[in-house]
Symmetry: C2
Subunit: 408 residues, 2 copies
């Protein structure tokens, strides 16, 4: 009899954004005349920039001509893209990362989701709370947790990110083996200083732990004192993997491109305590289960690293950051404490009550979609996340409607 992976039964009913989608659909059906404004899911709204579009087309044309056609590419990504990433995103910032330590993929969701496959079944895992649900759910599916109880999975160590610690948790008392961190944070928008990340790298070294550092939102950092990569921290080459995405950086949510950095100094241990190369392990995983990113998409991604491409994506993130500033100021002005939105496209708003109630109220009274903080974990209760990804006029209109709703 074909039996199922019963760990799937531990998963909570529905992925957060599916529930939101359902609520929005019901509201729209009941109120067909309302033009809903979406500041919920963190999806970009601006077209790919001209430089990227041009390179994308050129890549398609190459595949349309026998003389330049390319079939299977390297599973790890083409050298032209890995070189550009290593130079611009790391070496130019004095991070010692080489091109062959970059693994190009079709999404940071895939990479952060699949990465747990490399580890033993019984490691101890620390996840932030609130958290991007993928880190947790993929470990639940793999059987690394107990059941769900009182908003948490048994067996995980939750790193509470609260007002008290300015949403940046310190390393736990307890020893853990694998640590998921995300800065600028999804969902809180909080950022970590070099000193804070240094604490984590030192904790990892002291415990032979590994940090999985999700830097999907790094393009929104404007404060020059903030680290833009975990590899700005001394010793991180041995203790951390970094995930990056073109989704928010360059508007690739529909185009799909991302990469993962695995320094060759990272080790993972067998039962006898012998070290093995984490890079080699992921390489084996990827060559067995992945066939490389679409070639024209790799050409498009490489265009991000041209001087024009860099200027264009920077202008886009400036635009979204101005939206974020407007949202911050409006919510603050309405008396709601906020964090994030300065070096991040997310604004984390203290709702003064239940997350879903506040979400429902904004949907019903203002026709504005946000994301209830409790969907990201127990510490997200009482908050909502507002995303700055939208057109300016929509953001302004949403803020007007929210002001009306909250004053009424």
């Amino acid at each position: 009899m074909i039996r199922m992976n019963e760990h799937f039964n531990k998963l909570q009913s529905s992925y957060l954004f599916s529930t939101i989608g359902k609520k929005v659909g019901e509201f729209q059906a009941a109120n067909p005349s309302v033009s809903i404004i979406k500041l919920g899911i963190g999806d970009v709204t601006h077209a790919l920039s001209a430089e990227i579009v041009q390179a994308f087309h050129a890549g398609v044309d190459e595949l349309g001509d026998d003389a330049t056609f390319r079939g299977y590419g390297p599973e790890q990504g083409y050298e032209f893209l890995r070189n550009a990433i290593a130079e611009i995103d790391f070496q130019a910032r004095n991070c010692d990362i080489q091109a062959d330590e970059i693994f190009v993929s079709d999404g940071a969701k895939c990479d952060t989701g699949n990465f747990q496959e490399l580890f033993a079944q019984d490691i101890t895992i620390a996840v932030p709370d609130p958290v991007y649900p993928v880190y947790v759910d993929t470990n639940v599916m793999a059987g690394r947790t107990g059941t769900f109880s009182k908003g948490r999975y048994e067996g995980l160590v939750y790193l509470e990110s609260t007002k008290e610690n300015s949403f940046v948790p310190s390393p736990p008392e307890k020893t853990v083996d694998l640590i998921y961190l995300c800065f600028p944070n999804n969902p809180t928008g909080a950022t970590a200083t070099k000193e804070q990340l240094t604490q984590w790298v030192e904790y990892a070294r002291a415990n032979q732990a590994l940090i999985l550092f999700d830097a999907a939102y790094v393009e929104f950092i404007r404060d020059p004192r903030l680290p833009r990569s975990i590899y700005e921290i001394p010793g991180a080459r041995e203790m951390a993997v970094e995930f990056r995405s073109f989704s928010k950086t360059a508007g690739f949510t529909g185009t799909r491109a991302a990469y993962t950095v695995i320094p060759k100094d990272c080790l993972v241990y067998d039962h006898s305590g012998s070290g093995h190369s984490l890079h080699a392990l992921w390489n084996r995983r990827q060559t067995t289960k992945f066939n490389g990113l679409s070639y024209p998409v790799q050409r498009a991604a490489a265009a991000v690293y041209t001087p024009q491409g860099q200027a264009q994506i920077h202008a886009q993130s400036d635009y979204y950051l101005e939206n974020a500033r407007l949202i911050r100021e409006a919510m603050t002005g309405l008396g709601y404490p906020v964090t994030g939105g300065e070096n991040s496209p997310y604004i984390w708003v203290e709702a003064g009550g239940d997350s879903w109630d506040f979400f429902d109220m904004l949907l019903q009274k203002a026709g504005v979609v946000t994301t209830p903080g409790s969907g990201f974990g127990r510490c997200g209760e009482g908050y909502i996340r507002i995303s700055a990804f939208n057109h300016r006029e929509k953001v302004l209109q949403a803020l007007d409607r929210i002001a009306q709703a909250l004053k009424s």
Copy 2:
């Protein structure tokens, strides 16, 4: 201490095609003047057809304009593509498959590799021998096998595909829970009749087993009596999942697109024997770990289903099949028994000796790259696979060189 998934240590040193790549690289370095002809890895060589290129460009243009920009799409694929697939690939052939039973992805390698995540750890798995290595290696990584010994992993049931059964194995005596089948077969090029597939569907029903049917090469079937989908077999909706790919069908090895069909009638059971929807399980897996296929690629894939697109891809597969005919006849003429190559782009050649010796001889004496059959399993020993994916003049030149080498 961060500990590894030690099942990875059971994997044999290197993926087959990496070893071949290394040997070819060494030969080329030692013989820089030889123009090597690759009939090894099954990679297409012809440009995307005009209809596909045009749709691909149109998709890119949509992403380059704020008015038509699309961000995250449905993880399962856009309706326009799922509808086209369901209509043309299934309903037009009297297979009862609906659009919402189609899951679009970036590769059949990913899907066949990831699908095992849905099952319990201790199911019994049958795999063909010779076999596409991904079916086996992904289950090894997941810990569903013992160690490797004498060319096989302990715990797997091997379905021997030999000259005696014309390379189409019958269901085993032993009860198994999960069965990987691939027709037209990679690597042997053998095809299965409706009667043979019916035997498998009946076996699955009798044992509450599930068939994972890899139909990546279905576009090469010309014999109208041969089934082009497992769903042509009565009752298969309850017993089988089907994997399809645009790679060989439409020249998408560098573009990346595929899909998996999971009929809503397929069940998978928990420890108490209760049935659960396999479709719901894969949907949960995909929405958690995958973000959908690149939008312009989905537009390109949909163009495959226009009348012009169908005519163009059919002309391409005709071309490769003519190559296959030439290879078949040449090898037969040289006294080597062959199978495949009639409804398949692969020709399986009995080498009359050790696979790697024959591979090395063809590389050294003819500068032609093939694939040693033993790389696909114990029953592949004594065979090589020749791929028909190349330009006609290269194929003719390779056959001339092989004739010279074998006669000398």
